[in-house]
Subunit: 198 residues, 2 copies
């Protein structure tokens, strides 16, 4: 995957700022004028790029879910045939990268889902479910003793653990990105191990 070097499009600027604002003050707490101001244009100018405020949220949430799922599938494919243990580590690593690099999106991801139109919400839920099931399969390979409902619960709980990054204080009070990532990784493995030991 080539790293982007070209300038972000106006659409992307808007999405990024909207994500930040939605995460800070909630979907209903942010006005379109604010979003516009954040990218240097004013309120209604946004409608040249999006059908409405809802559309921005929808694109954000679908994008997040899709990105997570795609990344996980890729990691699974890359490690095809390898030890399930390593695959689980790779999944954890990917999720942590995302949680540390895109904190606003992680926040939105489980906070504003209910504000979506039915069709969009169904789509997001479906992507999320696939992502979870993917983890569940790998987890049950590593810990064959764990029953499926328990495995699903364990996966959701570890997501809760990994998604706690927004609560870990602003960057700077953290012990450094690498150390935080490592700590989260160890804790996730520890939690899974405890769930697997019946």
């Amino acid at each position: 995957m080539a790293t982007r070097t070209d300038a972000p499009t106006r659409r992307e600027q808007i999405l990024k700022e909207a994500a930040r604002l939605f995460a800070e003050r909630g979907f209903h707490g942010v006005g379109v004028d604010e979003i516009g101001a954040a990218v240097g244009i004013s309120g209604p100018g946004l409608y040249r790029h999006f059908a409405g405020k809802d559309a921005m949220l929808a694109e954000l949430l679908v994008g997040i879910s899709g990105q997570l799922l795609t990344g996980a599938k890729r990691r699974l494919a890359e490690a095809d045939g390898g030890p399930a243990d390593a695959v689980l580590d790779s999944l954890i690593e990917g999720h942590i990268d995302f949680a540390l690099d895109d904190r606003p999106l992680i926040t939105l991801h489980d906070r504003e889902l209910d504000r979506l139109r039915d069709s969009d919400r169904k789509l997001v839920r479906q992507l999320q479910r696939q992502y979870v099931e993917l983890w569940v399969e790998v987890l049950r390979e590593v810990y064959p003793g764990i029953a499926e409902p328990a495995a699903r619960s364990a996966v959701h709980s570890v997501f809760g653990l990994l998604n706690s990054t927004p609560h870990l204080g602003r960057p700077g009070s953290l012990p450094g990105r690498g150390a935080t990532a490592e700590l989260l990784h160890r804790m996730a493995r520890g939690a899974f191990a405890a769930a697997g030991a019946e």
Copy 2:
């Protein structure tokens, strides 16, 4: 603590329904008319019991934080002098009880804090900080090797794990409350153990 047997007051009804609605659709997503309807009165009737919509949210959040802190202090006092290990277990148990019994409140707790007036938000933050510090102290007794910043991060992350209950599916798809509580408890201990093993 004696279990309440008398009927809930109107104020308590309102708070409970408001908590549920706020958790479902967000603070700004719920109108006062809806809250009123949920308790059988209509919109402005709420103002006989609360100064405004903000006041309901404030009372809910301050109440949650206070309850968590008070409960933790009580458990700490009860186990005074006992093994730190057992105290940690008691803290975890208390938090899980809360997360399982008052899911809407847990949801609100880290979702709508920014909607509070400055003074209320400061109060809630102060209560939360005390609660965290209490856990950090106990955790560092159990795992003396862990540095304080890492311990704080670990505590926040385990809160994320325990507070994942709203994502565990509606009661019924769960393997039963007792089993869920036990699983969460084991995972929390596993995560802490992994954080403590440097």
